[in-house]
Amino acid sequence: MNIFPENVSTYGQELDNLFWLITVFVMIAFVVSLFVLIYPLIKYRKKPSIKAEYITGERKKHFKWVVIALALLLASDFVIMYCEHDAWDQIESVPAKADVRVGIIARQWNWIFVYPGPDGILNTSDDVIVDELNSSLHVPINKNIVFELRSQDVIHSFFLANARFKQDVLPGRTVVRWFNLTKEGKYDISCTQICGILHSKMRNFVIAESDDKYKHYIDSLYTANGHKTTSAK
């Protein structure tokens, strides 16, 4: 049952598994609690001439059941914590080896993509900047893509559902995150932090493609921006 959009990132599968793991616990808890809630409603309906039992519940004999239930809940909670901790670290901590480093700048209302120039280093004067509505971020597949998220004006949020990745983009700071896409294709980028009238139109794409296609695209960018980059120097 694929209730999620197709997963194309290396760490996406872990989140899906985490979801199903939590679902197991939740379902058990749900069924048990429903039983605890519904059963007495049937068994202990008002009957003539039967008086309710006098149970204050403050004695160990009765309250121990609540304690047991809470202990089980706490235990399952920490099991979940333990399982999700790796996934969290993997997503939030950037790998040392970055194959491609790009800049993603949010503005009202578009995503701007910054590719390193011929010198291969980001944030230098020869960077190539793509700032067109509904433009695409081209990345090679099976490579660690490390990107620096920035915002020019207000808070945006970079959401790539197929990669299970989301990160708020705050002005005034640079957030460095990464993903590694495993399948060629064109995927939606959306902004999930309300940012104005065209918030719902702030949609761009990630195009994951094979390595040579990607190189070809970058070269075309360089030729197109050749003059600009040289004049900027």
Binding site: V26, S33, R45, K46, K51, I55, G57, V66, L73
Partner: protein, 585 residues
């Protein structure tokens, strides 16, 4: 005290009254009116989500700007102008003095002032719809710099900074918080100082305990936000840069200031409603509340923990990952006391003799729905999955499954339960049951399907999904339509309640004082209680939940009934299993 009540003119008696009951009613009525506004906004944007760009009956066409403004104001209104007044102020004002057996609040004038400040804040909020530029549309979390420096509402008029929707919204929230602060001081002082003779702390009904704990949480968590609201207001009006990175500020500060209050606020809304459950369950299962003292302790623990978990709303906001883990653990820990409270409530049903009255049905519905809301919280509390689920409809659905039962089911349980006391009339129970079942089914119809939209990656606050291929496909679009139809029916079914309310108010008074055969002190006063509440101040001898006490012929013993000879022995015998307690009457 009769002399006082006779002297009063209409204005001092019903409008500028210092009587806690009248003020409580005023809060409740105000809350219902604002709920109408919030519901209408919900109808508008739900309709727009199902049929983008279509003509909306009773409104017209919805622009993107209006959409943002309406979603924002819907959230704001439902939390600050419905939840707070109805659950905290209204219930607190109506119940605390009666339940602790005193004549009025400690500071009646402050009480009246607090309502009128609240009233003004509501007017300010509503006025923001009509200023040029429209109401504030930056999400109810008001994240700057979007909410600062006139990003949202460009108002061409004179004094544009002050009379922009943004500033008016901030002003309204600040006033509302001040009103609630005054109310909170009143509740605490009244409960600490004005309790009836013999009402020791562990003879206080749970609802009074919980309203006071909620007030404490509110008072201690709101301070930083008030300071932050000042800064945000100055950012808008004077052009300072507290939250503007280009001017040295930092929006992350607001996120912390806001959620430092915003998360405890959830418990401020939850605790009074839980208190209502704690009153309803024992009465209608004729059984003592399960684990009275542990419940109080659990609530106190949750109050302490509630200020240590706020940043789990910011997992993807770029906070320090190690802190995220810390706050994730805090979130898990705070789920424990509330789970304990809910389990105790369920355990109260076991071995009772249950009557399915209307308040009981609302209370049970509350538990059932909140179960779903609470359990889906497990997904979001685990910070890794929150990376995906944050700001999607999964989150929206989760907090509607917590807040809707909390605010509305809790409130309706209270209304159907205490209506006879405060009006001397009874609501029609057949209509009440119809109201309950309609609300229950249409609420689930509205929200359950949207869990799947959220998991499919549908993100929040988008007025038009036509660009997003993930959402613009079956079954998600038909889910949207289904949810909208159910939402409209949900809103319509509330008119059953209004009809029931007005027809019942038109009926003649019934002089019965204690229709539910309940134990707490408010049922000793005549209904409706006069100014000054009690003929003679009651004296308290026993806890609030002595139902079906062994050896007593009646199955309820009000708090002012002295402890009979041999009662303790009878109880001890039953609890030690010497004699059985299910003795026939």
């Amino acid at each position: 005290m009769d002399a006082i009540s006779h002297k009063q003119s209409f204005w001092t008696k019903y409008i500028f009254s210092t009587d806690h009951k009248v003020i409580g009613m005023q809060y409740a009525i105000m809350g219902i009116i604002m709920a109408g506004v919030g519901g209408f906004l919900a109808y508008i944007f739900r309709y727009n989500l199902a049929f983008p760009g279509a003509y909306i009956p009773l409104f017209g066409h919805l622009s993107a700007m209006q959409y943002n403004a309406f979603v924002t104001c819907h959230g704001m209104i439902m939390v600050f102008w419905v939840g707070m007044p109805v659950l905290l102020s209204s219930l607190g004002n109506l119940l605390i003095p009666l339940m602790i057996g005193t004549d009025d609040m400690a500071f009646p004038t402050v009480n009246m002032l607090s309502f009128w400040i609240f009233f003004v804040s509501a007017l300010v909020l509503l006025s923001s719809f009509f200023v040029p530029g429209g109401a504030f549309g930056g999400g109810w979390t008001m994240y700057p710099p979007f909410s600062a420096g006139g990003y949202v509402n460009k108002n061409p008029a004179f004094f544009k900074e002050l009379f922009s929707g943004t500033s008016l919204m901030i002003l309204a929230v600040a006033l509302e918080l001040v009103a609630m602060l005054m109310g909170g001081i009143n509740f605490l002082v009244t409960t600490i100082n004005k309790r009836a003779k013999g009402m020791t702390p562990f003879k206080i009904p749970i609802v009074v305990w919980f309203i006071n704990i909620a007030s404490v949480i509110f008072m201690f968590s709101v301070g930083p936000l008030v300071a932050g609201a000042f800064m945000l207001l100055f950012d808008n009006v004077l052009g300072t840069g507290f939250y503007d990175p280009a001017r040295g500020g930092d929006p992350m500060l607001w996120e912390h200031l806001f959620w430092f209050f915003g998360h405890p606020e959830v418990y401020v809304l939850l605790l009074p409603a839980l208190g209502v459950l704690a009153e309803v369950f024992p009465v209608f299962s004729r059984k003592p509340l399960f684990a009275y003292k542990p419940i109080v302790y659990l609530a106190l623990v949750s109050a302490i923990l509630s200020v240590l978990v706020w940043a789990h709303h910011q997992f993807v906001a770029g906070i320090d990952p190690r802190m995220a883990t810390f706050f994730s653990i805090g979130t898990i820990l705070i789920s424990i006391p509330f789970a304990g409270i809910f389990l105790s409530f369920m355990a109260t049903l076991w071995g009772g003799s249950i009557r399915f009255t209307v308040p009981m049905m609302w209370a049970l519905g509350f538990i059932g729905l909140f179960l779903i809301g609470g359990l889906t919280g497990l997904y979001l509390g685990s910070n890794a999955f929150d990376i995906y689920a944050h700001d999607t409809y999964f989150v929206v659905t989760h907090f509607h499954y917590t807040l809707f039962p909390d605010i509305f089911f809790g409130f309706f349980a209270a209304v159907y339960f205490w209506f006879p006391k405060f009006t001397g009339k009874t609501l029609n129970s057949a209509l009440g049951k119809l109201h309950f079942w309609c609300t229950f089914f249409f609420f689930n119809g509205t929200w359950f399907v949207l869990f799947f939209n959220g998991l499919a990656g549908q993100h929040r606050r988008i007025n038009d999904y036509s660009d997003f291929s993930l959402i613009m496909k079956e079954p998600y679009m038909s889910f949207e339509k289904f949810a909208t139809v159910c939402a409209i029916l949900l809103i319509l079914s509330q008119f059953i309640f209004l009809y029931n309310l007005f027809t019942s108010l038109a009926k003649a008074k019934t002089s019965v004082r204690n229709p539910w055969q309940s134990n707490t002190l408010e049922w000793l006063a005549e209904s409706p209680p006069p100014h000054g509440n009690f003929e003679t101040y009651p004296e308290v001898y026993r806890g609030p939940y002595d139902y079906s006490v062994p050896g007593s012929t009646e199955d309820f013993l009000p708090q002012n009934v002295p402890v009979a000879h041999g009662e303790a022995e009878a109880i001890a015998n039953v609890q030690n299993g010497i004699t059985t307690s299910t003795n026939t009457i």
